[in-house]
């Protein structure tokens, strides 16, 4: 029964959502509404699972004094500090008059969000700017016609979407034919066509995969026994 009950749940819920698209009335509409609310609550527990799993792994690293355990300790402390501010400010705001949110400007949680979380998350992703330039210099080569097409399109878009494109071309080309116009055309014609082909292909594949999952033919999401 370890696999049969989940497969039955997948089937029932999948059929409800599929049919509710066409029959929004009772019972399918009511079930869709109920299941939609449940999805959010279960999602919250899924996030909690991730956070608690991280803590479990970090605690194991610290207690068993693995080579990088100081960093695991930093993870645990940072997590606890953030959670402390979140719950302290949250309950303080809940019982205050007037009530305020745990993330209102001026709270400890908002301070942590602004000066720690935002700074770190933004900088982590910002590093990619350097790597994309380095990778372009080292590896981006027009080895054949297709790669050349890719390169030329990238040049037109990169230069056309910033003022330098028009600065370079508007003294030699008429209005409407400058680099920004070419970038507009590339985005609205060949890019639209290519993206649409990919979109339709993905949609058709997704429909068949979803059907297989709902009918229980695809069970990889259940994992091993």
């Amino acid at each position: 029964m370890r696999r049969e009950i989940p497969i039955a749940i997948t089937f029932i819920v999948g059929v409800v959502f599929a049919l509710a698209y066409f029959i929004p009335h009772r019972p399918f509409g009511a079930f869709e509404a109920q299941f939609g609310d449940w999805f959010g609550i279960i999602g919250a527990f899924a996030i909690w699972l991730g956070a608690l799993n991280l803590m479990k792994i970090s605690f194991i690293k610290v207690f068993r004094k693995r080579p990088d355990f100081p960093f695991a300790l930093i993870i645990i402390i940072s997590f606890l500090v953030m959670v402390f501010f979140g719950f302290y400010e949250g309950y303080k705001g809940l019982f205050a008059t007037p009530q305020f949110s745990y993330r209102d400007p001026g709270t400890g949680f908002d301070w942590m969000y602004k000066w720690v979380y935002s700074a770190l998350s933004a900088t982590m992703f910002a590093l990619l700017a350097f790597f994309v330039a380095s990778a372009s210099y080292r590896a981006f080569r027009a080895r054949n016609l297709e790669a050349t097409l890719l390169l030329v399109a990238a040049f037109f878009v990169m230069l056309g979407r910033v003022p330098v494109g028009d600065l370079l071309t508007d003294w030699i080309l008429p209005t409407g034919y400058t680099m920004s116009s070419w970038a507009d055309w590339i985005m609205s014609v060949p890019n639209t066509a290519g993206q649409r082909a990919i979109m339709i292909g993905i949609a058709l594949g997704l429909v068949s995969t979803s059907l297989r999952i709902i009918l229980g033919l695809e069970r990889t999401y259940l994992g091993g026994d």
Partner: protein, 209 residues
């Protein structure tokens, strides 16, 4: 506190950027802080915005006669947490099955309608303003590119003859698409770094007007 916050954010930003020179202890420490703080942020946010606002306030909303069904969602959510324990971890398959089933059922419909049906319709229906020679070329190219791109993705038939020519044309359209995506990706990545450099040189050092 704001001054202290600015200096702390600057130190953390420089710690992450130091990775560009080479991996170092400061970067590893900043990375660990990021992981811990992110997990804490999501933990707290989902508690207040979902478990409190949606579940707790939901079951106490006397105007809703169906509110007690939310306890089923809570029960399934608790089962999700059993994944932390090896012996009873198999119980987490039930809420997982719910999530997968709901997503599969909904996506099957919305992706077919919005990403296939409407897109095919938009490709073949004449849009407003259709009638000039420029619109014939524009929409003709869009239709041709979409069709040839789809032909390229059809791998059940060998790409030979007229089919092969269409597939080749499809690849060319797709290459232009990927080039445009690359150009936009460069723009996006540079924008991310600009934000941080504006913080360092503007907010922290005050050098920018």
């Amino acid at each position: 506190m704001e001054t202290f916050g600015i200096w702390l954010a600057a130190l953390l930003t420089i710690g992450i950027i130091s990775f560009l020179y080479k991996d170092n202890v400061l970067y590893k420490a900043c990375e660990a802080i990021f992981v811990g703080v992110s997990a804490g942020y999501w933990f707290v946010t989902y508690y207040w915005d979902n478990l409190y606002r949606k579940f707790y306030l939901g079951i106490n909303d006397t105007s809703n006669p169906e509110r007690y069904f939310l306890w089923i969602a809570f029960f399934l959510g608790v089962l999700m947490l059993t994944r932390l324990f090896e012996k009873i971890g198999w119980l987490s398959r039930w809420p997982l099955a719910f999530v997968v089933g709901a997503t599969a059922g909904l996506y099957m419909m919305i992706y077919f309608v919005s990403n296939a049906f409407v897109q095919v319709g938009a490709t073949i229906k004449p849009p407003p303003g259709f009638g000039t020679w420029q619109s014939y070329i524009t929409y003709g190219l869009i239709a041709l590119g979409t069709f040839c791109g789809l032909v390229y993705f059809f791998f059940s038939k060998e790409h030979k003859g007229a089919f092969g020519v269409a597939a080749k044309l499809g690849i060319w359209f797709l290459m232009v698409t990927f080039g445009a995506s690359f150009g936009y990706t460069v723009m996006s990545r540079m924008s991310l770094m600009l934000g941080r450099l504006d913080f360092l040189f503007g907010t922290w050092l005050g050098m920018i007007k």
